[in-house]
């Protein structure tokens, strides 16, 4: 058994459905239509699907509700895509463990548990989504309404656990092991990962876009606080922040970030733009974890003078990082956008790249590595 490295070649560019061929456009169109109906159907009166109310079990698990149906489809996408992924890359231990955790989190934490809570008359709660991804979680009124343990998890998970883990292991612990968006991207979306743009232009766009959304999410959270403590005295403020009008901060954020950027574009356009459009360009959680990662111990180590500039790493980086540019200049690196999926190391034919959580010992090893020029340039 080979527990690392690519096992067999991938004919991505010889399959039209993986390369913006007719079928790819059809899949994208279907997904975009699906997400548009899902998010905006309510306004058109398309709330639930009564046809699915066929027996009391269907009713008990809330199948006729379009959100529950979506949860079911999402889980099917993660499980099915995960199996396909493991058939291709399952020889690698890192890939196997990672995708297994993704599937388990989706099935248990993001699907079964909220459903069970609903069945038993509790409010549903998604433990695998943290602030600022779930930005409204920090609404003081909402926090106060939660059971104490859940409130502690909501605050502690976002403010203590996530930064600590990102410092120690990089943002990968969340973005490509736990997160549902990342889980779908790495399973159902994996066949399109080579479509992610890796140009300098796309990097410039990413930096501006993702940090803009991050600041909007943080700013909106502050606005929620302001509204909660001062909203009574300032009805206009309340109306702007948390009112029922379509143009309130809450509603607009939901429409633009939650529905359009994460759903319609982020997932709908998988077959045309690659699976991480949302994570890379718009996710506030990814931006924040990225800054923490940048200060932390995770990095991709480059073996000196071994890169042949083939481009497999850059092509198969779902975040559009030009990994090759680091590899061919012998530069170990930490990029804030890197979600640590491990694919660059997996496809490298020379074993040049390695994901690492640096320890002091590794730093010493690094010193030994330096000063070994092959030619004294």
């Amino acid at each position: 058994m080979d527990l690392q490295g690519q096992n067999g070649l991938d004919a991505a560019f010889r399959a039209s459905w993986r390369n913006r061929g007719g079928l790819a456009w059809l899949i994208a169109g279907t997904l975009v239509g699906f997400y548009t109906l899902l998010y905006f159907g309510g306004d058109l009166g398309l709330n639930d699907i009564p046809a699915l109310n066929f027996d009391r079990w269907a009713q008990a698990i809330g199948l006729p509700s379009r959100w529950h149906l979506y949860g079911l489809l999402y889980t099917v996408g993660v499980v099915g895509g995960g199996i396909a992924y493991l058939r291709k890359h399952g020889n690698s231990r890192y890939n196997t463990y990672r995708i297994a955790v993704n599937i388990a989190v989706q099935v248990l934490l993001a699907f079964t548990l909220p459903l069970a809570m609903a069945v038993f008359g509790q409010g549903s709660y998604y433990f695998s989504y943290l602030w600022p991804l779930a930005w409204y979680d920090f609404h003081p009124g909402h926090l106060a309404s939660l059971p104490a343990a859940v409130a502690v998890w909501t605050l502690g998970g976002a403010l203590v656990l996530a930064p600590l883990m990102a410092y120690r292991y990089g943002k990968r612990w969340y973005c490509s092991w736990v997160c549902g968006c990342g889980g779908l991207a790495n399973t159902f979306g994996d066949p399109w990962r080579h479509l992610t743009a890796s140009s300098t232009k796309s990097w410039k766009f990413e930096k501006v876009a993702v940090h803009t959304v991050m600041f909007i999410a943080i700013g909106s959270t502050f606005a929620l606080f302001l509204d909660y403590f001062a909203g009574d005295r300032m009805p206009t403020l309340h109306r702007i922040v948390d009112g029922g009008d379509w143009w309130s901060v809450k509603r607009l954020y939901g429409y633009v970030v939650g529905s359009i950027l994460a759903g319609v574009i982020g997932t709908g356009l998988y077959p045309l733009l690659g699976p991480r459009v949302w994570c890379r360009n718009f996710c506030p959680m990814a931006a924040l974890l990225g800054l923490q990662q940048k200060l932390g111990r995770f990095r991709i180590t480059v073996k000196p003078d071994m890169c042949i500039s083939c481009g497999n790493c850059t092509t198969y980086c779902e975040m559009g990082i030009d990994v090759r540019s680091y590899a061919q200049s012998n530069e170990s690196f930490t990029r804030s956008s890197c979600v640590g999926c491990g694919m660059c190391a997996h496809v490298c034919p020379r074993g040049v790249l390695r994901l690492e959580n640096l320890t002091k010992k590794r730093d010493q090893a690094d010193k030994a590595r330096q000063g070994l020029p092959v030619v004294n340039l």
Partner: protein, 485 residues
């Protein structure tokens, strides 16, 4: 100052970048037929498979020529006029004048010596044009990544003997893609051609003259694993079999060896490469066949320590230059990282520096043979003085073979299959004259496996029993320098 570079590969491009870094105003011209854009030649196999597009294997963004003001002449150089200081170009193109010149024209495939080699359907796997030919034979054309832009733009300024000429495609004559692919030559290009044919769903035949695959780099035990793996995948591996001729009416139909004859629709001849320097001999218009710069018997361009040729101001780097190897031998070295380093050194010469010289460090390399990782460092298969070999085959969760070469009590080389290793740490062991027991105690420092792969553990009795006296048996008549990658 006018700098001209013949060759758009890694040596030429590294030199161009280095000159531009120091001299923003100099005129830099790059002459090459093969492709508009610099690409990684070692990555052709993934383009064939469809794992990468042609643009994916270009290490620099396509605007680099415009951005850094490199003039790009997409045509064949057919000679150098040393007195007039200009490069002559085929097809009536204006000659390109230079003050300083770098020849980085690379390698071309060694042609097959067998009767019938001129038949359509027989080719190589070295140039972009070879790739297009092989794709046309097996897949019927390029992947959806498409051909590179202006793929045929050089044809108007080329000659029929160019290694970048278009090759006739037997599949077009035959009216169907190739089913029976044969690959001749048990080296790295050979196994790549086999691997991609297998990935296309075929069962290629792999003809190897020697007793085992790649004897220059690996020994019998190591090689047997790789041959077994190829056979598991449905490749017909023919060891110790000599090709005698090809047969067919216009297109190749059969390949005849000393042991049998086999149907063949497409044949990849991968028996090595030779310096691409013929254009220096043929193009002076006088017909005397003398190159203006001195060539050695192999066709490599003779250079000094600064990579300057016999003509002042004319340098050579990469596969076409005969350089001094780490063991003192002087001959071309067809390797990615040495070409890159030579390009940088040659740039110092083009810039007029006089101090920098090329000094080759240790030998090291890595590769992937089918799905088996391979790392080598130091003196393996060199028959060093007082040679002993330590060998351990790991079975279980990870399969690996691990060979450490000693000269007396000193560790001098490593040959590792099945795992990833950091060669720079292995080379440090060699530099520090470490003993076998020290190296085995510290092997974890060189570990480069991906996460969750269990480390290599050598049982105590294997540490002692693994050592054997004398050199490893060789399938080659005499020790040779390591192979090109």
């Amino acid at each position: 100052m006018r700098v001209v570079i013949i060759g758009n590969g890694v040596a030429g491009m590294e030199a161009a970048l280095e000159v531009r870094r120091r001299e923003p105003a100099w005129e830099i011209t790059i002459i090459s037929e093969e492709s508009d854009h610099f690409f990684s030649r070692t990555a052709l196999m993934w383009v064939f498979a469809g794992q990468l597009s042609h643009q994916c294997i270009e290490p620099l963004e396509r605007d680099v020529y415009a951005r850094l003001n490199f003039r790009r002449v997409r045509a064949r150089a057919v000679g150098i006029d040393v007195e007039a200081r200009q490069v002559r170009i085929a097809g009536g193109h204006d000659a390109v004048p230079f003050d300083r010149l770098l020849i980085a024209s690379g390698s071309k495939p060694r042609p097959g010596p067998w009767p019938g080699s001129e038949l359509a359907g027989i080719g190589h796997f070295v140039t972009h044009q070879d790739l297009s030919w092989y794709e046309a034979e097996v897949h019927g054309g390029p992947s959806r990544g498409g051909p590179p832009p202006n793929a045929d733009a050089h044809l108007a300024f080329s000659t029929p003997d160019s290694p970048y000429a278009k090759r006739p495609v037997a599949a077009e004559t035959r009216g169907r893609p190739a089913k029976d692919v044969a690959v001749i030559g048990g080296g790295l290009i050979g196994i790549e051609a086999v691997e991609v044919a297998h990935a296309a769903g075929l069962h290629p035949r792999f003809f190897i003259r020697e007793e085992w695959f790649w004897p220059m780099a690996i020994d019998r035990t190591e090689s047997t694993w790789i041959s077994d793996r190829m056979r598991e995948h449905g490749v017909h591996v023919h060891l110790e079999e000599n090709v005698e001729r090809f047969e067919g009416e216009g297109v190749v139909e059969r390949i005849v060896t000393d042991q049998g004859d086999y149907a063949a629709d497409a044949v990849v001849v991968a028996i090595g490469v030779v310096p691409n320097t013929d254009f220096l001999r043929s193009g002076d218009g006088e017909g005397d066949g003398d190159a203006p710069v001195t060539l050695d018997r192999s066709g490599g361009i003779v250079v000094d320590e600064r990579l300057e040729t016999s003509v002042p101001g004319v340098f050579a780097a990469g596969d076409c230059a005969s350089v001094r190897w780490f063991n003192g031998a002087v001959r071309p070295e067809q390797l990615w990282y040495t070409a890159r380093d030579q390009g940088r050194i040659a740039a110092r010469g083009l810039l007029g520096d006089t101090v920098q010289s090329y000094a080759r460090g240790h030998w090291y390399n890595s590769a992937k043979l089918m799905d088996i990782e391979y790392t080598t460092a130091g003196l393996v298969n060199f028959h060093v003085e007082g040679e002993r070999n330590w060998f351990f085959e790991e079975t279980g969760a990870v399969r690996s073979t691990n060979r450490i070469v000693l000269s007396g009590d000193r560790v001098v080389g490593f040959n590792f299959l099945g795992r990833r290793w950091d060669h720079s740490v292995l080379l440090r062991f060699i530099d520090e004259h470490r003993s076998l027991s020290y190296v085995l105690d510290h092997l974890d420092d060189a570990r480069f496996d991906t996460e969750f792969v269990p480390p290599l553990r050598v049982p105590m009795e294997a540490r002692l029993r693994g050592l054997s006296e004398g050199p490893a048996p060789s399938a080659l008549p005499q020790p040779v320098a390591p192979p090109a990658v």
